[in-house]
Symmetry: C2
């Protein structure tokens, strides 16, 4: 057998395996995706999924629970899609910026009200709740409320929740959970955070 033929045979076996797995995956419903961990890419992955969903013509909703310094690029981009996308940026920066706990709680709860409305509205195909985990960790929003709203949502609605420290109760009910783990980080090496790129 030539190396080319061996490759072909190996790939045929692999294809059979993959095809069998695909055939077994028959449940069609909205999924709950959680991106957590201390590494980068949790939010940007959520925004990438948002772009893909808009590309498929889905109606989408976004609530950003923490307005980061670098969210302006996302906003500027996605605001071009005003017809298909309902975009809310809540909160007033990181908690060490505001230094006012009661204002943070009020902002988080106002953001949650908008999110809860999206989760009960079947016209949204895709809902991104960016940095919701942070508000849960700080107990600005009660986990039980979130679990109840997610469980009662329209069956075909996809939900993506991001932020470090995803509570175990949320991980338990999620379909796909990824931990973004830091291998190395430019900021720690003295490189300035720059627009466009999430260091």
């Amino acid at each position: 057998m030539t190396p080319e033929e061996r490759h072909r045979e190996r790939m045929q076996r692999k294809k059979e395996l993959v095809d069998r797995k695909i055939a077994r995956a028959t449940i069609e419903r909205g999924v709950l995706v959680v991106n957590t961990g201390n590494g980068k890419g949790k939010s940007s992955s959520g925004f990438g999924m948002l772009a893909r969903s808009l590309g498929h013509g889905f109606r989408c909703g976004v609530v950003q629970f923490i307005k980061g310094s670098f969210s302006t690029g996302e906003e500027a981009f996605f605001r071009r899609f005003a017809d298909e996308l309902d975009y809310h940026v809540m909160g007033e920066g990181f908690t060490w910026e505001t230094q006012d706990k009661s204002r943070d709680i009020a902002a988080a709860q106002a953001a949650w009200e908008i999110a809860a409305r999206m989760l009960s509205d079947a016209s949204y195909d895709f809902v991104l709740l960016d940095e919701l985990n942070i508000a849960l960790v700080k107990q600005y929003i009660q986990l039980e409320q979130v679990l109840a709203a997610v469980a009662a949502r329209p069956p075909n609605q996809h939900v993506v929740i991001t932020g470090r420290g995803a509570p175990s109760g949320l991980v338990e009910v999620a379909d796909t959970v990824t931990e973004m783990r830091v291998v190395k980080h430019a900021f720690e090496a003295g490189i300035k955070a720059q627009k466009g790129i999430e260091l």
Copy 2:
């Protein structure tokens, strides 16, 4: 001291720490970001950074080294930005779909030529090389070529490289490296891959 005051004091100390770190991070140049690991979110995070970069008015280039079944949503979305974005989808699906090694190699090398041109062109502010790691692992493209092109690129150009199995030589020269780790995966639980969402 009231709890509110204690919170304020703690947050002030945290802000000082963060501000000191920001003051120390003074190097301004393009960064090389690598997203690797077996979990989800490697590509979608790259596409999220792309959206953010386009939001900042950057000129962007994308080469997809492996055309996945779910890339159509991204394509449909980003093709709306034809003026600011140069988008190439190369390759013909996963290797177990084509089952033809020499065709895979030719496709990977054609994709790399386009990528190398972007990496030598200062008019690109942001370049996403999606799934390049897979072509490197299979040695369809030589790592040395990639390292040389990345090192010689315009100093302010940001580059994002995705795909499982990032070679250690690439991790070494990268500024920010994240490992996406699977915690759980809907597909393994029998849920069908669906458009819009990256399971």
